[in-house]
Symmetry: C2
Subunit: 336 residues, 2 copies
DNA sequence: ATTACCTGCTCAACCGATGGAGCGTGATTG
DNA sequence: CAATCACGCTCCATCGGTTGAGCAGGTAAT
């Protein structure tokens, strides 16, 4: 470690290494970034440079490197939250995939706040990102616009936009399937053919719209009509959902829960009910949680296929096209 | 939008704006970074610059900026995973706190892989981070060493190291309290005074060691001796835990679960048991999950106090001291 | 009238990595 | 023996923003 004592305050640069090895900065860079074969640097010199770099604990200065090059290889992502299994998995797998593709992922969490979203995007543009992924963005088109002004391509994930390609889950089909499983369970186990109650989400949210559509279509296919008071979309907060359900003018037998966050409220409600009443209720949720799946009255959960979403995303990124077409990825149904 | 048509491929720079406004790049930069008062730029010129910047959708080039300055205001964090409530919350709240402090957070997820951890740290060093947070690192001292070689201070979070300050949860006390609640429940509800079973984690992991210590001490305080076969630390995997518990030579009545990941295995096991047998078992877990808390036999969960951990972390960062002292943050006990 | 000082701005060097152009040496070719 | 070429390397301008130094023009004080 004595070798690195001298530069404890300053970071090692290619100039330091050049001096140590007794060569030029150009030779050092080209060895370190792999372009040395093209530049006809000898194996011997390359070895000495690599050794010195290793000893000094050298790390390239990305800032300098990116400043000079026209591609940064940095890809940005804005995402609403991490502390949620779905977005956590998205962030994690996006990182892994980007790294595997030789890119540097930078992810920023925007708390579902439209202003913070745009501010975060500007921040990422400052990093000279080559591409920006807007995941679950409240206003993807605004993001696409800001990026376009800087010549940066955008891809929407989870929620679609009209100004950039979008990769989203097939909420319609997922909701259709989940509704069917729930209706089957109610019919077979409870002898009930009533419509289910749809709880959670906002109707200005594309995914909620699609899920409602799947929900209604599954009912229609069985000749069941869904009255408007069976569809409750007060947002995602657990308490709101619980309160709404408690004050229904009728007793639901089957509940379609539109997110695991809402599910918390539903489960709390179930626990407060007398056992007999709870036993006559079945529910299932869109979005998966391992503990949620283990709860007594859970009939099924729909999981979004994160690996496929990320795979499509990376493919789209490689492709580079900016036509605003929507790619839908099927969801996975986890029956009880 | 016509104004920005010309630079749709190239990004706007301070030189472009200088030309538009008819002034020097220096004036532009100082207006945009706030140093213009010191530099005696007139309000009038400042206004014109700001207007032009707005119109052009200008975003600073962080690379160029950081390259020149000695502080980057970028702070890095390596974290094992996002798709877990604890680490997800850490990442999210760290981002928020850093941003509020005028810093740029960059977080990287390392999958508990020691090599990836060091590689990720090197990556972050390339970004010229001013400070690096090693969260839940398998080898914090190695990270501190690599950073020290580049003159970058480190802070350990969640797991302590010996070469940098550490902010961790008070696992000992948390485990002590959880054990007491469990022992009480077993005594009062089941009339049992047997030792609890400790399941999950690895004994080479500092947190597991501390939690085991709290577990044993709570027993000792009641005059209960814990035989070694009551302490099972096969890692965190749900299936391993389930399998070990199934094959115990005795029937446990109380189970101390050392992580929510392990808890999944325990809950699956419980579901496979006949109702009567399941009803004679109580468990609690270290680490909190909202759905876990709602499961039938859960007696209590211990939650790590993420907001306090992050607050202490930011304080340590501001302080800047590199003495390797350990700060412990109390955990929150969630009784049934 | 000279000096001092303030205001409002510009100049130019610099941060570290990169890559096109170019240079000296020795071997090969016509 | 001159011309050509491959080899192994170095020089230098460049990316965009920052900052210490400095300059022109005006006012106030001595």
């Amino acid at each position: 470690m004595t070798a690195s004592d001298g530069n404890s305050s300053k970071r090692t640069t290619i100039y330091d290494i050049a001096e140590i090895v007794g060569t030029s900065p150009t030779a050092v860079t080209s060895v370190l970034n792999g372009s040395w074969k093209k530049r006809r640097i000898s194996q011997k010199l390359a070895d000495r440079v690599l050794k010195a770099a290793e000893e000094q604990g050298y790390a390239v200065n990305i800032q300098a490197s990116v400043l000079r090059k026209d591609k940064s290889n940095i890809v940005g992502m804005v995402i609403p939250k991490y502390d949620n299994r779905f977005f956590g998995a998205i962030a994690e797998q996006f990182e892994e995939a980007a790294r595997a593709a030789g890119l540097f992922p930078v992810i920023t969490c925007t708390q579902r706040d439209p202003d913070l979203e745009v501010a975060a995007v500007r921040g990422l543009l400052s990093y000279q990102v080559d591409c920006l992924v807007a995941c679950g963005a409240t206003n993807p088109d605004r993001i696409a616009e800001v990026c376009a002004a800087n010549g940066v391509p955008t891809i929407n994930l989870d929620l679609p936009g009209s100004r950039a390609p979008s990769i989203i889950s097939d909420s319609l089909m997922g909701a259709f399937n989940l509704t069917n499983v729930l209706l089957d369970a109610c019919a077979q186990e409870l002898g009930q053919a009533e419509p289910l109650v749809f709880i959670g989400g906002r109707l200005d949210d594309h995914n909620t719209q699609e899920r409602r559509r799947g929900f209604v279509e599954a009912h229609s296919a069985r000749g069941i009509d869904v009255p408007p008071e069976y569809i409750l979309t007060p947002g995602y907060a657990p308490d709101k959902a619980r309160h709404l359900l408690e004050n229904l003018p009728f007793t639901p037998h089957g509940i379609f829960v539109n997110s695991t966050i809402t599910l918390e409220g539903v489960v709390r409600l179930m626990q407060s009910l007398p056992d007999a009443e709870a036993a006559s209720i079945r529910y299932g949720s869109f979005d998966y949680d391992p503990f949620g799946a283990l709860l007594p009255q859970t009939v099924a959960m729909v999981e979004q296929d994160v690996p496929s979403l990320i795979a499509k995303l990376m493919a789209q990124m490689r492709d580079g096209a900016q036509t605003p077409q929507v790619t839908k990825v099927p969801c996975i149904l986890h029956p009880r």
